[in-house]
Amino acid sequence: MDLLEYQAKKLFRQIGIPVLPSETIAEPRELKQLRIPYPVVLKSQVKVGGRGKAGGVRFVANTIDAIAAARTIFNLAILGEYPEIILAEARYNAERELFLAIVLDYQLQRPVLFGSICGGIDIEKLMQNLQQVVVDTEFSPFLARRLGSQMGLSGQLLLAVSGIIEKMYELFCTKDLELIEINPLGVDAQGNLMALDGKITIDDYALTKHSEFTNLSTFKREEVQQKTTHISSFPAFSTTEPKIKTNLSIPKSIRWLDWQDKKGKIAILVNNDDIASLCWDLIRQRKEKPACAIILDDLAGQESLFKQQFLEMMETLRQMNSVKVLLLNFWETEVVNRAIAKTIWELFESSPQDTNSLTGEDRAIIPINDSLERSRRSSSEIKLDDNISESSQSIKLVIRLAASNIEQYQQEFCHDEIFWTNNLEDAISQAIALSKMK
């Protein structure tokens, strides 16, 4: 999970990394109450980088300019992301800009300290001068000094920068970070340091250990209401938030992967990400296009929830218009496989697809695509044209279950629109053939 700059700077402040006086702004008119003396810099709080070049960082000299600039920034999407917050910060005159970062190296399985004498927005120059020190065994301050020395620093500045690295490392460990970055670390004419920007990525796996981060989206709104400048005591991260316990019996919902192909006709529903990759591979290797992939985690014992989620998913697929076939491939115990098979079959038996087991009222609320509407109207008339028959709008199912007694499934759960098989290659062929039918 990425923190925004102002959240990262809050952590910096707590640990003693120097940051500038700043205020968070949720609406331009709040700038009227700004307690930071001008000139001030307004920074868009977005998770993506490259704000400066995109115009998300503006220097302003007075309130009127500030409000105008804030309006512009709030309406500026950077790589598709709009800011909800702007950070107003005091201006700083840096003589030089350094770069510091600590990153978890997954190859070495160790944290690595990074530094560059060329901090700032010129990434090429930054990378060309990048130095690293691997924290192999235990961390000790001399490792930070080693990095500083590799960067070409010496004397007082070396000591000061090492101190910052030590504090960054402390945050890295205590908060289970994946990445912490200060770019630029400003150095003024007197050799004082200031973290002018900050990025922190918390490891998603560690969120259960850190209750202060688990409700971050609501937290953001709350803390903006309690807004103060850095001078008064900053509200610490809430420790009264109830800790979210990992409990395997909490049902997990259907998860759509962000793989989408609008021209794709085959949707994939599986219970594991790797199986989704496999099915996607096989379809594409035959030069066909899968439409999307949906994962159902943790199925055991959640039958009623599965029914509801399955129906919602089918509706979403129907509204995608292009999807003609849903391919299922589940690896569960025999008992669970059977339960899933039965549930799906019962759903199909009890409600022919054009009504989708919704009441008339529900149908009015959910937007129905044109072709579906046309088919419903035309079914009451006598039509010889096959193209507008009801069944052409329904999504066919190809269900692959690794059962040796698959014929039993075919008999017991027999339905026009469901095809049962225990062979994946056959399932793929069947799905492709069905997707090509009118």
């Binding site: 790589l79 190296d105 990378m127 395997l248 199986i275 990759s277 996607w280 591979d281």
Partner: protein, 294 residues
Amino acid sequence: MNWKLNNQIIVQGTENSHQMLQCINQMKSYGVEVLAAISSGHPLIALEEIPIFDLVEEAIQKIGTVETSIIFASSEHVLDVCLEAIAAGIKQLIIITAKIPPLDTIKLSKIAKLNHIFILGPGSAGIIIPQKLCLGTLQPEYFSLGNVGIISYGQSLIYEVAWILNQAQIGQSLAISLGQDKIIDSSLLHWLEILNEDQATEVIIVIQTAQDIDYSSLELMSQSISKPVICYIFGSQTPKGKVFRQGVEILNNHLSHSLPDIYSFRKTISNVKKLGVTLTQNPSEIPQLIRKLL
């Protein structure tokens, strides 16, 4: 020093009783004896005939030496319960729980190395030797006895590959799930060596994702492993982005300020081919590849 696998184990992490019970019942049918369950103070649940203890050392005192513990504890407790097991003399840990904080896994790895402890996982589904041994959550009904070893990180594709082999009347000698976390203690090379020495195994299948191929292990493998290896690489047709492991790569990607490109895996795959490794991207090709190699 090698894994000593037998049918007598303990389990830890009773707070995830549902998953634990399911696994115990499955393993029971394979003759696995769960000699104790460690609750670590969590509310006790009735586990039929299995005695429950608060501490591993209490259990060991009562039941005697046990080599292996299977860990079901919640992710934030895994480091602690593993350290407890190691301190009580357990030599082998199979960590079923996934999504352990990486810094915890690193700590655990360091201590395991110092104490010569073998770990599978985190996020492992365990190991199965058809008709002999089943430790973990791999479902025995999908396997048959034979001469092909399967090494994978996750468990699902083990099932798919085993299915294809079974259809072709080819059985499995051993199947192992190394673990799905980004940092795992299990070593691919170590298990390749085990299968290389295993009498029953004649061919080894390694399953990897295109976005995260352990190229260096494959390089070392081509020098030290004598038995034929088939590398099944999946996911090259998916829009998944490359997994960056090296610090510099991660930093570069982080700083590059643009939307991630879909990484082309053709280069990596051709590099793997250059190592002389038999490669496939479609598991249904595996049986014919095996026939060619043997």
